[in-house]
Symmetry: C2
Subunit: 226 residues, 2 copies
Amino acid sequence: MAQDMTLLWGSGSPPCWRVMIALEEKKLQGYNSVLLSFDKMEHKSQQVLDINPRGQVPSFKHGDIIVNESYAACFYLESRFKSQGTKLIPDGPEEQALMYQRMFEGLSLYDKLGAVIFYDYYVPEGERLESALKRNKETLVTELKLWEGYLEKLGSGSYLAGKAFTMTDVVVFPTVATAFRFGLSAERYPKLGAYHALMKERPSIKASWPPHWLENPKGQDTLKDI
Amino acid sequence: MAQDMTLLWGSGSPPCWRVMIALEEKKLQGYNSVLLSFDKMEHKSQQVLDINPRGQVPSFKHGDIIVNESYAACFYLESRFKSQGTKLIPDGPEEQALMYQRMFEGLSLYDKLGAVIFYDYYVPEGERLESALKRNKETLVTELKLWEGYLEKLGSGSYLAGKAFTMTDVVVFPTVATAFRFGLSAERYPKLGAYHALMKERPSIKASWPPHWLENPKGQDTLKDI
């Protein structure tokens, strides 16, 4: 049990979801879970600012130790609870190298996805350009095809860094799930679709599925044509 | 010696520089160092594409193991050569938490710096907007002030994650040095200026200083007024 841990989070935020999956995998259930509303701007509340001067979630505290960046929190949890729950960093040098490589490529995937699905959020109304959004979509397609190729090469039933579930899945799966939530076609991206389906059955993913996606299972169709 | 390692890199690229510092700190001199020219588009050459399908540097190979993402390569090197050279990940949970936290915040600093100094590179000519560049500058100032505050709190002579040099310095210093190269004022940002001066004396930094900065010590003045 993890009663000395507090996580402030928002539903559907991939960075928050990463930390939630890590907590589940490391058998750290029972933490103080504080769900905040982005619509009500609660991520800018004093409660968040007290932990995180950036006014962002996730904001995460373990005793007096604060680790807010999602990748940082995942590394921290794996390091502190190495022998508890799922081992997230493999021992073999090759497996480890691939795990690190893909988890950091995952940041590119996240950025490129965000530049399409959150375009209107990032770019003020008067500055939005069809040409820029079109380019962002092309960049995202190139990125998605890279990942489709990675999975193809690893063979069916694989996780993102090989035959075993690793930290890469913890941090990158929320981005993949978000792409499908925003209408990505599993027919056009069958390997990513199969990976998405595989992961959805995993207990840590089920336990941390965004509550507003559960309430309203139908997502957007922003990505249906890419 | 590291004759079974190859690093393809470009002068002045912060991601490349991170890996070079890690190699120096881990006493892995003697690797096969291949300096490529961005002007000649050599980072898109077959030599790079053979290792890195993204056509980016750094591209890094150790025997048959490929790790191209700069943060991934630094983690990999620390893990493979744990007891060699500088210990980059501290043992204490608090020190480790701060190290992870700041190294990932370092990605925000890097992105926000790039959105100003590489604005014309990222945004095609017809799409550039004064309003966007102005906002990017404001965002960068807020970010720089955060880091100035972090260093202030740690006290003089500190590294980015405390009294000891860590992986955070390996990955974030190149961004700080780039900010000063582009004209950041050490008078307006005295803590960052002192950190920059401290790090410039470190052997790993001297050994990896961008060659075209050495040839032409005068940088740009893009950031002089922020």
